[in-house]
Amino acid sequence: MDILVLVKNVPEVAEADLEIEDNQIDLEDLVMGINEWDNYAVEEAVRLAEASGGGVTVMTLGDEEAEDVLRRGLAMGAGRAMHLCDEEFEGSDPATLARAFAAAIGDESYDLILCGVQSSDLGQASTGVLLAQVLNLPFATMAIGIETGEAEITVTRELEANTSERVVLPLPALVTVQSGINQPRYVSIMGIRKVRKMTIGLFEADDLGLDEDQVGEEASQVAGRALALPEVGEGAEMLNGSLDEICGRAVEIIREKGGLS
């Protein structure tokens, strides 16, 4: 089974103080890394390829630094990497990205394309399914399980309220992978050393046969974008004072509101 995985380099923001400049978050002090959902997707792809024979290709679209996530994919077991890297791509929306990925895929035939359900930065949860539409492939989102069959796969999709559903897709297909589907492996030193001997294919918009007006802001459906930090503690009454005082107050509230005497 030949599998393509789309991966994205994103900032880790969970414990970071974010700042906004010129409508962009300031990335300077932020650690970049593979989008969490994409990491699960790479692991799933490597497992499926190991079990069925076949290769894994990882592909990203991003700046030079984004190559890090491709090397990571290679170190985890992918055999090939493609990097779409061009300033022209800046400002692309998911639909535009999907067309760029489709152009990069070209005539190559993959049995399966995997993406993360969403990215942790913009969380649009769209690019994968949009790509499936460009490529005219069957698809399923929110996969928490993938079983392979004869020319088809059974995908377990996570639904709401602790329920899931099983759906069958004929191959080739595109699936977006939910976190928790597997336990991603650690990157090994052997994996890292293997990458040393590999080359990463670099593609600009030109190489994909995309004109200026087919990529970036011009092709995007977005006319303007503004970012803002929400007010600190909006909504909550922040308890102030010593640890002792605020904990004392918290216990009073719990007792009163929780109906404890």
Partner: protein, 380 residues
């Protein structure tokens, strides 16, 4: 001049950090309290290739430098010093084997260390010979083709876990040159007359095994000798010039952990109506910790890089070892101080860091010994 790490080195750092965060965090307190360790963690680290990266590809290693080994060490120690030491000390001696041992010895020992099949220990310190290693009184006496080993060693890392022990012993006690009196022997742990006892009650790095060893008429084959007879002291100095680099990386890792804990704490902890981070006294402490950490790291980066380039700068290595270790002890002290009463309890990581730090100023050359070396290179 280029201060940038290569992509591969950055990947190594990230991989080591992810492994350590994923596997060490949950176990650290348990190992510290019980003075035990789970060797499965060491095996997992071997499987991922983190152990013995400096060992040549000819002997199953990654063939990377001491620099890369240091990068891994820093990441492991930044998560937990005790587990970092338990995992990475398992090759303590491989540096010497790789430099001086016979091909047969190398092929026997080194691949097993990399694969997680065996652990090596190096026994140098004796009850009466600490910093003054040339006073080591354990003896190896020629007995036909082989040798007979007698004496005792103390504070031997992994003494009860190792399959092989590198033993530093007197072979020519009457030589006028006190640096030509010793030799190293590669002793299988199962040898008759060798007894190892685990030492408990350590202040810190309690996940790491430490033992005392007794050698009572231990018979060794001729090929147990490592390198040439009488070269032990010189071998030991060459050995320390590698392993001390690792201590620097340990120290910087620990300092980083202390800094991270401090930053997290002072941003969140409110006293007198504002976060501790707003007080200038706190800010100065944080600034000093961060600056000293960078300085220590640059020292060891340079020293390790030079060794990998084939240039062993004894004085620079000693500078790096002394400075980074002292800095780690101070950083852990300040970190605990900033945590106040909470930091005094072992549920808080700073307490463990405080205890773990002190060994850095003691093992593989006390800070006093390091300063003597530095002074020697400056004053001639």
């Amino acid at each position: 001049m280029d201060f940038k790490l290569s992509k591969e080195q950055r990947d190594i750092i990230r991989a080591a950090a992810e492994f350590a965060k994923g596997e060490f965090t949950e176990r650290a307190l348990e190992f510290d309290r019980s003075e035990t360790f789970d060797l499965d963690l060491w095996r997992a680290a071997c499987e991922l290739g983190f152990v013995g990266t400096f060992i040549s590809e000819d002997y199953g290693g990654a063939g990377l430098g001491f620099f890369e080994h240091c990068l891994i060490t820093e990441e492991f120690w930044a998560v937990d010093p005790g587990i970092g030491q338990a995992v990475l000390s398992t090759t303590f001696g491989a540096e010497l084997i790789q430099l001086f041992a016979s091909e047969e010895q190398k092929h026997t020992v080194l691949p097993a260390l990399v694969e997680g099949q065996a652990i090596i220990a190096t026994a140098i310190t004796e009850p009466e010979a600490g910093s003054d290693t040339s006073r080591a009184a354990s003896t190896a006496v020629k007995d036909g083709e082989g040798w007979v080993l007698n004496g005792s060693k103390i504070f031997t890392t992994n003494g009860t876990l190792a399959q092989w022990v590198l033993v530093f012993a007197l072979t020519d006690p009457d030589n006028d040159n006190r640096h030509a009196r010793h030799s190293f022997f590669l002793v299988p742990a199962g040898s008759e007359g060798l007894e190892a006892n685990k030492l408990t009650g350590k202040l810190g790095i309690r996940a790491s095994d430490t033992a005392e060893l007794a050698f009572n008429e231990v018979k060794l084959d001729a090929d147990a000798l490592v390198g040439s007879e009488g070269q032990g002291f010189n071998q030991l100095m060459a050995f320390f010039n590698r392993t001390r680099l690792h201590i620097c990386a340990q120290a910087v890792g620990l300092t980083r952990a202390a800094l991270e804990e401090s930053v997290r704490h002072v941003k969140g902890r409110v006293q007198f109506g504002q976060p501790l981070a707003q007080f200038q006294a706190t800010q100065f402490k944080i600034a000093e910790m961060a600056t000293n950490m960078r300085a220590a790291r640059n020292l060891y980066y340079e020293a390790a890089w030079l060794v990998d380039q084939g240039k062993v700068d004894h004085g620079l290595i000693a500078m790096a070892k002394w400075f980074s270790a002292q800095n780690a002890v101070r950083a852990a002290d300040e970190a605990l101080q900033m945590h106040g009463g909470y930091g005094y309890f072992d549920e808080y990581r700073v307490q463990r860091l405080y205890r773990d730090a002190k060994i850095l100023e003691i093992y593989e050359g006390t800070k006093e010994v390091e300063k003597i070396i530095v002074a020697g290179t400056v004053l001639g």
